[in-house]
């Protein structure tokens, strides 16, 4: 097979990047922004709707739509051309959010052992812990993308002073349900795992429910999540309340 060195210049945005043998990324931003995220969600939905023969799977990340294709049925040149055509059809960053989004109001405790790095994170954001909690819970955040672990939502964006760098040393374990923050985003952890983000709270909400064959993944990209502060004692009472951990859900029209 012929050897060839790949290009080392990046095309302007929106940009097509082949990802391995059978994938293409369509990137709308090199830094996270609301228009880039909207465009990624809308463009992925448009690829789904187009239902091209030979497309195996689609997904979206924070700023990109992704499609995987079957090279036996669709050539890279052909899929590239179709993606360019679709891109040219409209201004994707001006698109609205997905229809029938939901808002989850999820109880969270920001006290004691549930919030081991709250003081630390608040200080980095230039706030005292009470102000920090108030800001985190002040308004709904949007599920910008799901990833890292199944159903785990990157929620954003927080105001600019929440642009906290990841920790240099990973926290060896945070528990499922933990509320962590970094880079103007919040995550409710979907599985117990190590992280470079700081843990500032705890919920009993389970993002991933492998035992539920109907709805194993609770959140979808575009959904909203608002955290509602509760005491540590109240949170403990929610442990037995089921996988939603006391969350209230409404459909946004």
């Amino acid at each position: 097979m012929r050897r060839t060195m790949p290009a080392t210049e990046r095309a302007p945005l929106p940009r097509l990047t082949p990802l391995g043998l059978d994938g293409i990324l369509v990137t709308f931003g090199d830094t996270l922004s609301d228009p880039a995220n909207r465009a990624a969600l809308a463009f992925r939905a448009a690829i789904e709707e187009a239902a091209w023969d030979g497309v195996r799977e689609t997904a979206s990340s924070l700023c990109s739509a992704y499609l995987a294709f079957d090279p036996a049925r669709l050539s890279l040149a052909e899929v590239t051309e179709r993606v360019h055509d679709l891109l040219a059809r409209r201004d994707w960053s001006a698109e609205g959010l997905p229809a029938r989004r939901r808002r989850f109001v999820i109880p969270a405790s920001f006290e004691g052992d549930h919030a081991p790095q709250l003081a630390d994170a608040a200080k980095l954001a230039g706030l005292d812990p009470e102000e920090a909690v108030a800001q985190i819970c002040a308004r709904p955040l949007r599920a910008l993308a799901l990833g890292y672990a199944p159903g785990q939502a990157y929620l954003g964006s927080l105001p600019e002073h929440w642009d906290l760098a990841r920790q240099k040393d990973l926290t060896p374990t945070v528990k499922e349900g933990a509320v962590v923050t970094a880079v103007r985003q919040v995550i409710v952890f979907a599985s117990t795992s190590p992280t470079g983000w700081r843990q500032i709270g705890m919920t009993r909400f389970r993002c991933f429910r492998p035992e539920d064959a109907e709805t194993p993944i609770a959140l979808a990209p575009g959904d909203e999540v608002q955290l509602r502060p509760v005491s540590a004692a109240e949170l403990d009472d929610l442990a037995e309340s089921g996988p939603d951990g006391g969350a209230e859900v409404e459909v946004l029209e």
């Binding site: 097979m1 012929r2 050897r3 060839t4 060195m5 790949p6 290009a7 080392t8 210049e9 990046r10 990047t17 082949p18 990802l19 391995g20 043998l21 059978d22 994938g23 990324l25 931003g29 090199d30 830094t31 996270l32 992925r44 195996r56 799977e57 689609t58 997904a59 979206s60 990340s61 924070l62 700023c63 990109s64 992704y66 995987a68 079957d70 090279p71 036996a72 050539s75 890279l76 040149a77 993308a145 799901l146 990833g147 890292y148 672990a149 199944p150 159903g151 785990q152 990157y154 760098a165 990841r166 979907a190 599985s191 795992s193 991933f208 492998p210 064959a213 194993p216 993944i217 990209p221």
Partner: protein
Amino acid sequence: MTRLLLHEIGPGASVQDRGRPGYLAQGLSRGGAADRRALLEGAALLGQSPDLAALELTGRGGSFGVDAPARIALTGAPMRARLGERDLAWNASHRLAPGETLSLSPARRGVWSYLHLGGGIATEPQLGSRAAHFSMGLGQKLEAGGTLPLGEDPGGEANRVLDAEDRFGGGEIRILPSAHTALFPREDLERFCATTFTRDPRGNRQGVRLAHDGAPFATEGQLALVSEIIVPGDIQMTGEGTPYLLGPECQSVGGYPRIASILPADLPRALQTAPGGTLTFAFVDPEEAAREAETEEAYLRRISKTLRPLVRDPHDIPDLGRYQLISGVTAGRPDNGD
């Protein structure tokens, strides 16, 4: 229902199939067998669907029995396989009767070995697959003394062997660009292709560390990259510039730069390279790679053509002195061995 009895089983063993494609948008990587070709070879040997689940083994191997007559096949990294006192050929199918003990001892080459059963392993599927993905709470941990349910085997041939591709010695791996390839300076891409990497002992189904002499590999501003979609076979640089080859249980998105992505056809060989084995990488033409890509179904058809009856190796026949042997005859030994 027939059951596979796990008399002894090493750590790292799990039930695997072709995984869960279609959940990437929801944050779940495909998972499934580390050596997908080995799954296809097992399906060919037993003449059954490649979607059936098998037992993936690593490290210590194990010993196994059945509570009703069963057909088995052995593929992937060659282990020493014994049925009672008798050596069993690798890349071959056999019959296993209740009361007999199949022992598999550590792989001499490669990392991942597979025990297939007629009818497949019939644990309850989760999200459309039986593949264990332990870090995500999918699948059950396997312990000595445990059992696994088997699907109904409509019956078929056993004592058959095939020519599996030798993919246990490392070597050159073909790569294509990935999400961040264009962010690396050209001289670093050239240096990457000129470097011999050693498979580090640190590795699992999520990823495998590759050690090398020389400077780390890094992109500008790499700690501020926006998290991006990951696929198995991507080669990711950690913060300190050490490459990790990402396996079936890689995360679905990540923010570390990925320099390249391995051709699916070469990924089993990359993941089967044992600690201490060496790998080099070569960027190839994407159009040509796509044109020549062999689907898994095509590989299954290709290896199925090499199926033939297993002739017992003279070494395995007890009381060999009674037989007149023709010099040089080693019939039936699968030719992928040492």
